[in-house]
Symmetry: C2
Subunit: 186 residues, 2 copies
Amino acid sequence: MQYPDNIMKSKKNTVVFGNRGMDLENLLNLSNRYYEEKNIALIYKKPTPIGIVDVHYNPRGKVIDKAYFKAPSTLDYNGLYRGKYIEFEAKETKNKTSFPLANIHPHQIRHIRNVIMHGGIVFLVIQIQQIYLLDGQDFLDYIDANERKSIPYSYIQEKGHIIKERIDPPLDYLPLVDQIYFGGNV
Amino acid sequence: MQYPDNIMKSKKNTVVFGNRGMDLENLLNLSNRYYEEKNIALIYKKPTPIGIVDVHYNPRGKVIDKAYFKAPSTLDYNGLYRGKYIEFEAKETKNKTSFPLANIHPHQIRHIRNVIMHGGIVFLVIQIQQIYLLDGQDFLDYIDANERKSIPYSYIQEKGHIIKERIDPPLDYLPLVDQIYFGGNV
């Protein structure tokens, strides 16, 4: 049995410092479930878009016999927090010195610009040595000013915000969202 | 070749009054593309959630060999409009006198309550004789006060708002959103 891209990537690159070796996607999904159960926020991972080629019917319903993965044009997670629209992408890299920009599709970069233009909250969650929240505008500022194919770790250290790992939620990123996008008002 | 649930449903029940026989999902997708291109809003249909059982690799990438459809726990469309979170479900019925509530999963009803609690905009787009926008709270008010398994057309006529069909966008629902959720201020 084999898995789609995102799950395979996660398996290769688990979080080894704390949180029992869980991958970034699982940490975020557990955190979002915690936020939902505590009535703090409604944030979901979007299903990976697929193109369905063929299905058949069995007594329990429809079964897909053939399909393929499509390239995403938006980011992985979106939802609602304190009345505001929030969207982010989560990416891991084994690289220790830079974050390869090949990780983010051109459509997604255009989408980040659009979300900012329409007044939404948008950021990246990047696991490079530690787990950082990098504001979408800080991400755009770097790629607009540089020709490089990766973002140096030093830039992420400077502009990013380390997300605290806890027991529950495992990745407590919303206090950073309060601080960055709501001026620290809770 | 066969299609998943939502596409089959659309094929059976096309919009015959204007807009060249297009189904509700296509009308909304075209409208959302128009809104995106004109920098008015960012609203997308979420991919149908599927569970992947098996994949294989070929030279062009991964191919899904077996998967099944999961029941959605959120609504079909979500996005960002004027800085606010917006989410809705689109449903058609051939029924002329009432909208069967079996069309909306219990998880989705709970989700509508949650979106309202967190300050988001949430509504249904219901095609019953005409195409109506029914505010999420008006929908909840009905089901909380009644034991019936369907919403009578008269209630949708009274509380709903008819969405104007145009050439471009084919279903111009955002002026109603301005009126209902932004107090008519544009």
